[in-house]
């Protein structure tokens, strides 16, 4: 069942609709939100696959899917929202009497506090990310994260200056919540979308809501200390030699920064240790000190 959980009339062009797909009823309640950032679209595909599975097998309990939280941003192909360039994910828990984006955030938050809550993203438009669960270094969501069977589970410390995002607000409200990301922004990666949809079906299975698909072991479960961030020393044109998922050994050539004019090699990027590539830069123009790759060290 599709329902409007919030609408706003906007000038010139009609109605903004925040829509929710609901399957089943009662508890437990799983809520999955996608498209908070309007140019991260693998979640839209993943949730459509999941909706198809839920139509074939009704859940025991309630599953709420909100695939396009930032519908206007999605229409405009932009990460941010249409209302004063605000980032919806920096607006939670919102305010019913605040700005348009704060009102959307408030309505979304009120409509999405389930027993278990998942926020789906893609990587930025610059990078490809291994499908993964990112969850707080503290908390008891780890078993749920493992149950999804995505390749990577990253227990991540909050960064300095990070403001409250939807997952933080869910957790503050007593929900079990985490973020899932994978692939690249502004790009549909069907395999990533299917992997995430399968992970969500395993999650429902572990919650006793549906018959679970076959389990899949997590490839790597890491904390910040096991994630090596590789940045370039000089700006230029980055040519990767590896892809997400590749196993590399110490010294392996991961990519080159070359001169955009002429192609002379300016810098070789090599693996500092044995590991798995979990993030890879795809947009080739890079500034000095930009992220090129992440490796997880096992």
């Amino acid at each position: 069942m599709v329902e409007d959980i919030y609408t706003i009339e906007v000038p010139f062009r009609g109605t903004y609709r925040l829509q929710r797909l609901r399957f089943g009823r009662g508890s437990p309640r799983l809520v999955v939100v996608g498209g908070l950032h309007g140019n991260e679209l693998n979640s839209v595909y993943a949730l459509n696959l999941l909706a198809s599975a839920l139509r074939a097998q009704a859940p025991s309990g309630t599953v709420d899917l909100i695939p396009m939280a930032n519908a206007f941003g999605i229409e405009e192909g932009r990460k941010l929202g249409p209302f004063d360039d605000q980032d919806l994910n920096h607006t939670f828990p919102g305010d019913p009497d605040g700005t348009a984006m704060q009102r959307v955030a408030h309505a979304l938050f009120q409509a999405s506090c389930g027993d278990v809550c998942v926020d789906l993203h893609s990587g930025s438009i610059l990078v490809d990310e291994m499908p993964q669960v990112r969850l707080s270094a503290k908390g008891d969501e780890l078993d749920l994260a493992r149950a999804m069977g995505l390749p990577l589970v990253w227990r991540r410390q909050p960064r300095t200056g990070e403001t409250a995002q939807l997952v933080d607000c869910w957790r503050a409200a007593g929900c079990q919540a985490f973020r899932v990301t994978g692939g690249r922004g502004a790009t549909l990666d069907k395999a990533v979308g299917a992997t995430i949809a399968l992970g969500l079906r395993r999650l429902m299975g572990s919650m006793g809501m549906t018959r679970p698909p076959a389990p899949c072991p997590v490839l790597a479960e890491v904390t910040d200390e096991q994630v090596v961030v590789l940045r370039c020393g000089t700006g230029g044109f980055f040519v990767p030699e590896v892809s997400v998922g590749d196993h590399v050994t110490s010294g392996h050539l991961l990519g080159r920064v070359v001169a955009p004019v002429g192609g002379a090699t300016l810098e070789e990027v090599r693996a500092p240790s044995t590991g798995i590539v979990v993030t890879s830069r795809l947009y080739p123009m890079v500034h000095a000190q930009e992220l090129l790759l992440r490796l997880v060290v096992l």
Binding site: E9, A100, H287
Partner: protein, 308 residues
């Protein structure tokens, strides 16, 4: 007095062109260090113009007591493009502080700016209004910042707003320092007649009150300096629309209004209907009025300072 220029951060672009964030230093005799910063967002050029004028005035002086560090444009790429956010990364530099030493260019600029400005005893950020608005010249200081509040009283503005930090405040430039005031006025993304003159006088008068320059260096007589009204968050009322449409203002910034006076209307331009009459919630003075017309439910269209 010695004038010098240094790059506090060099951004090498992927094409190997280089962009510098520059500090201009006027080093005089013994005295306090004052940092003046503009252009953190690229669509507030009024601050850049004020620091240009202040630089020209300082150059005419034989000496100063202390040091004035001028950062004329913290976000040169956005300023060139006349957009709020740092291009390429599409990030708001004023949400990246305190930055990271080894991050991407916006984070490195934020880090270097904080590292250098921390040497200062007093920090003044000068900027134009948010792009949708026209604003009276005003100073913002943090609640509890007595030194900054006293200096803001000398800044030739009409209102000093003592603000309680909001949820996003920790990532702003101003939040990184103790004695900091933010001077703001005019309209977003343009230069307005009279605004830079007012704020230039304000900056020079603050420097005079700190003893860095003499009273004679201030372009107007001390008796002509505006005596601002000091207000707190409770006295500044935000007026929001309840419906989306096109906002047509009925008053200008600085207007004196009675309670329920019309501040503007929200109209449906396609069907030529008035959707909402926006009224003053209290009697007072219009501190800011929206000039960009597209509004949504909850869009801020005016700030009114309530009569005391």
């Amino acid at each position: 007095m010695i004038e010098s220029q240094a790059a506090i951060c060099r951004i090498e672009l992927p094409t190997h062109n280089e962009v510098q964030v520059v500090r201009r230093r006027f080093q005089g005799t013994e005295g306090p260090t004052v940092a003046l910063v503009a252009g953190i967002r690229g669509d507030t050029p009024e601050g850049v113009r004020v620091l240009y004028e202040v630089t020209r005035l300082l150059r005419q002086l034989p000496s100063i007591a202390g040091c004035v560090d001028i950062y004329p444009c913290a976000n040169p790429l956005a300023s060139y493009a006349e957009v709020q956010r740092w291009p390429f990364f599409d990030v708001d530099l004023n949400r990246r502080f305190p930055g990271r030493e080894h991050g991407h260019p916006p984070d490195r600029v934020a880090f270097e700016l904080v590292r250098h400005v921390h040497e200062a005893d007093v920090v003044i950020e000068v900027r134009g209004a948010y792009r949708a608005f026209r604003e009276l010249c005003q100073a913002h200081v943090r609640q509890g910042g007595e030194v900054a509040a006293a200096l803001a009283g000398q800044a030739n503005v009409e209102v000093v707003w003592v603000r309680t930090p909001g949820s996003m405040a920790p990532t702003t430039f101003a939040a990184q320092f103790d004695n900091v005031l933010v001077l703001e006025g005019g309209a977003g993304n343009r230069l307005s007649e009279g605004v830079s003159e007012e704020l230039t006088v304000g900056v020079m008068n603050v420097l005079a009150s700190l003893g860095v320059v003499s009273e004679q260096a201030v372009p107007v007589h001390w008796a002509a300096i505006q005596r601002p009204r000091v207000v707190t968050d409770e006295e500044v009322l935000r007026v929001r629309t309840e419906l989306g449409g096109v906002f047509m203002p009925s008053v200008e910034a600085g207007a004196i209004v009675a309670r329920s006076d019309q501040l503007g209307t929200v109209v449906d331009p396609v069907h030529a209907r008035v959707l909402q009459r926006v009224e003053a919630p209290v009697a007072g003075m219009v501190l800011a009025i929206r000039e960009q017309p597209s509004v949504h439910p909850g869009s801020l269209v005016a700030r009114v300072v309530a009569d005391s």
